[in-house]
């Protein structure tokens, strides 16, 4: 855990970049709804591990990047990520103690909050049902152990 901050910053942006790439990878239309919000998962990982370095402000910037990346109304992902990460940062000491399965479940709640915020904003301009936004919550819960273990590995390797 006690690495030089510079190194961690590099991995942070690298992991966020990879998560963004995963977000825009072209997939068959049907499976798009099943994609978890990789970027949010990665952001949560970092804010659990190093809450003092990777905080709300960075999450906001990443959210704006995602909005531009997906050609959406600016600020919607920023708001969703800020909401989600606020909850994580409030409780990060507790969440860190949990086992990975418990963490997944708590994160499910946070992902849900983020997706509902996103849904509200998208709903202004698009006639769309909430269910499309609930799949990422479920797959996010399932993918959290994967993200957690992978990023832990990467962080200890470097």
């Amino acid at each position: 855990m006690l690495r030089i901050s510079h190194n961690n910053t590099l991995i942070y942006w690298l992991s966020v970049g990879v998560a963004m790439a995963l977000t825009i990878i072209p997939l068959p239309f049907a499976s798009l709804n099943l994609m978890p919000d990789w970027v949010l998962l990665v952001l949560i990982y970092w804010s659990l591990g190093r809450p003092e370095d990777f905080n709300i402000d960075k999450a906001w910037c990443v959210g704006i990047l995602i909005d531009v990346l997906s050609g959406q109304l600016l600020g919607q992902h920023a708001l969703a990520y800020v909401m989600g990460l606020f909850l994580v940062l409030k409780q990060h000491k507790m969440i860190r103690q949990f086992s990975i399965i418990q963490q997944s479940l708590v994160l499910g709640l946070i992902l849900f909050v983020a997706q509902v915020v996103l849904f509200w904003i998208v709903h202004i301009n698009h006639d769309i049902s909430l269910s499309a936004f609930l799949w990422p919550v479920l797959t996010g819960i399932l993918c959290w152990p994967l993200v957690f273990i992978t990023l832990n590995k990467v962080r200890t390797l470097l």
Partner: protein, 275 residues
Amino acid sequence: MAVLLSILVLSIDQYTDKLKSFRGYVSLLIVPLQYGVDLPISSVQNLSDFLLSYQSLHDKYTALQAEQANNQLKLLKFSALEQENIRLRTLFESSFKLGEQVLVAELVSVNLARYEHQVLVNKGERFGVHEKQPVLDALGVVGQVTNALPLTSEIILITDPNHAIPVQVNRNGLHTIALGSGQLNKLILPFLPNNADIVPGDLLITSGLGGVFPQGYPVAEVVSFTVQPDKPFAIIEAKPKAALNTSRELLIVWKNQSMIPLGSKSMTATDYAED
């Protein structure tokens, strides 16, 4: 603080276009990422092009040559028809719209929002692309430009649920509007009465109303016409002509806004003198 900022940004972007240049600058940051994701996909395609055998290339070449000859023939007739059309319009003293210019743009294989039908192409503002330009492919209308970023631009497809395109039935000139359905192979025509003169197989072309799409390009073919006796409007579905999910090269169209008045008598006279 961040929440307030987000809400501020959200409302500015919703109601004005002040953030357009900001979006442009930020997009420069993420263009490498988009190209990075596209790279493996396009290189696989290039590789498969490269590995085509001589025989299949030759076959393709002959087929294309035949098609070219065929098209050339049609074009010959077309130019004659165009001249005739201009002459007839001159008789009516109405103006004639000039042809369009196109720019070929290649698709960048990335996905944008999952609840929208939008694609990204590799030509942006630096090529003079701007918002609301129509986009076609070899078979028909694809959509229109929604965001022209410096190096790329975002294109909304005609099948997006938020997109509507004014169309006309080619057979009888019936005007209506085709809405996107959210499915890539379906457009909906919700505003035609149960007794409308439209049958499956009818070609829908752009009507030129609305001013975004130039008139006369094929949009879709009607596939089903369901009468709803208890409702004022029928359910009509159409299948887009353009290969929305397969074409990699798209044409961005510049319309020439200026009409050429052909009403001048002298021109009419010379035209007829030539005949």
